[in-house]
Symmetry: C4
Subunit: 232 residues, 4 copies
Amino acid sequence: MAAYGDATSSSELVSSPDPNHPANLICELCRCFYQLGWVTGTGGGISIRDDQHVYIAPSGVQKERIAPEDIFVMKPDRTFFRKPARPLKHSACTPLFFNAYDLRQAGACIHTHSQHAVMATLLWRGKEFRISHQEMIKGMRVAGTGKALSYLDTLVIPIIENTPDEEDLREGMEQAMKDYPDAPAVLVRRHGLYIWGKDWTSAKGQAECLDYLLEVAVKMRMIGLETEGLPV
Amino acid sequence: MAAYGDATSSSELVSSPDPNHPANLICELCRCFYQLGWVTGTGGGISIRDDQHVYIAPSGVQKERIAPEDIFVMKPDRTFFRKPARPLKHSACTPLFFNAYDLRQAGACIHTHSQHAVMATLLWRGKEFRISHQEMIKGMRVAGTGKALSYLDTLVIPIIENTPDEEDLREGMEQAMKDYPDAPAVLVRRHGLYIWGKDWTSAKGQAECLDYLLEVAVKMRMIGLETEGLPV
Amino acid sequence: MAAYGDATSSSELVSSPDPNHPANLICELCRCFYQLGWVTGTGGGISIRDDQHVYIAPSGVQKERIAPEDIFVMKPDRTFFRKPARPLKHSACTPLFFNAYDLRQAGACIHTHSQHAVMATLLWRGKEFRISHQEMIKGMRVAGTGKALSYLDTLVIPIIENTPDEEDLREGMEQAMKDYPDAPAVLVRRHGLYIWGKDWTSAKGQAECLDYLLEVAVKMRMIGLETEGLPV
Amino acid sequence: MAAYGDATSSSELVSSPDPNHPANLICELCRCFYQLGWVTGTGGGISIRDDQHVYIAPSGVQKERIAPEDIFVMKPDRTFFRKPARPLKHSACTPLFFNAYDLRQAGACIHTHSQHAVMATLLWRGKEFRISHQEMIKGMRVAGTGKALSYLDTLVIPIIENTPDEEDLREGMEQAMKDYPDAPAVLVRRHGLYIWGKDWTSAKGQAECLDYLLEVAVKMRMIGLETEGLPV
């Protein structure tokens, strides 16, 4: 497993009695996200970082059943501090998570396969999802890490096209983040979304708000209501 | 934090082994409401009061993860007995909760961001939501704190317009409560609802009944059925 | 509380370490039914009987939070062995549960406010709900306590009109059970349903099958598919 | 119970402190599947096998409440090593599970009554369900046990007609598996689906992906979107 260089398999970096240790949080949050239908079928996940470490879940495993010792720990330079003793591969989303870390100085990034996201990308066939005049917009932040949006703001989320290999989304996501510097998330058509925040609570809170907004938006469009502007 | 005056951070007022202590109840009920989709993304919540104390959750935090020591305790005159040691702000809904306490002598008030409430306010575009001939109407009470409605009563809930700042809803909610003295709740368009009862069990029971009725009503309207009166 | 005659408040009849004791089962099943949306807002419930005792939950309380000491115990002659020490009233559904005991020799009867039941009674505007050619029909039993239905059978459930007082449903339910001797349940329009079985596992299993069938049927009708017979 | 030959009722084969022992897994997974709505009303289930043993749940019981001692253990030649001490019958799905074992060398097979499966078989009235261009397709495997599908592959699942007796599905399922050698599952019209994998994690992961795809597909068709190919 040369790709992991001289990484250790020691449990030291992922073993802690503190429930707020990133390795513990990733496991617990993945169980929550499973209940929400965001990470079923081994898809989706969350990465958390601190100044020195980036914590990454393994690829292709049941996300609701991962344990701290399954977590990879990377350095900010993308080399590995630590890999699990079990023969696991790190999440294919890793380059996407690093987009959030590098371009937005995020402290956590969540990837969901939420059906509301997928349905929204089927109904909004252009390059943007837009919604306004919803209280939950106030739970979103400019660029994901900036100030909170106002009820009077329109939330705009870019939609990129899916690619056969998850890694190949990196460039499209990066371009969308540059084209939409204020967007707090990127939707991937027929796939899901990536969303980030300054820390895991912010990323999770925004993920819940956006998922709610996508669900409401899909319902609105299905009954012929516009999601942007007010009816006259 | 001058706004909290000479409030203490002592845990005394919020620390109790009794699961029915308001500080424990608020935490437990917020976890329940999170499961119901009422308080995701840090929105929504519940306040409980007794003769001497008003218990308020903090603002902008994950409602399903608050602990008793995060709870604010106010006096009926709206000054603070107690604030958390952590640097938290009290819920922006506080003036709205006091509407229920002052105008209806409620013992608890719940604020939800339920999607059924939001969808109902999009489909009922006027100033009222109305439904009749549903068993669950019997779970509602006149003015929230009076006698139970009958199956033969029509439930009428006023709808007020949302405002950019939650505090600014206070006046609109107060006016709606004066205009609709029998209404057990107030809907806020594109936002959610406020509902109260003589105690937390009554507030929660009515919140469940109203949410059920809003969900049924939205389904009925989507398939072309009237929610008021009987078909001829 | 004269209506309870010389009933005791002793815990003896409802206190048991056996999780399958009816008083424990009623509490646990009500928590399950709450998760299913069948008994929110204090509505709905379950009664279980054995040769000597009929166990009844209290009225107007949060069904997911009842404790064994809240359970009423009646004799088959409808007088009370035991009432809770707390000032509670027994379920208003009691006469309806006795319909299942008296007319079908049931061992348990469930009352739900399931939205699927309510929606079905709005879409099936006559006196019967009918569905055929669904595997889940095989989970239903003739008259609720007889032999299992076959995949080739049509399930027919009578629908009665709701009444302002729950007790007043007794007569309508009895008549429907006489008119439809093979029906394993009775739907109550704009209200919910009553369903029974020879014991609690049978009643619960049939309740799940019927709820599933009602949900599928509502979806089918909403997209223009017939629920009885096969398409040609 | 001659059908079980000289099978023992000893607990030895099903009693283990290891949560990954098949007898423990079947019980735990059935509880999960109940939450997902796949095995309500005693329907559905899962079988797991290793080189020497095939583990089968009992028939007609509440799947979310089975205990390890309720599990049947068969030999690969379909005779019984072990039957429960309680008078239970083994799952009527047993011959269907063996289709997966015999024709695909599967290590586990799941049967669900998911409503998404049933609705899909009502909307796809021919002999195949087809979907393409969905990320979750990548969670499926050729023939269930082969290599992963690509985002560019079309997922094709054969649909067979239901029969009054579950055992009689065996032949139809076998024929469909021969006609569609690459299909990772078989849908049964108005009934549910069978899906398998090289082990229980693969079977469960694919079951979640397929259920997700069926749900999305039903929503797409309901709003007039094609599930195969891209819109032009």
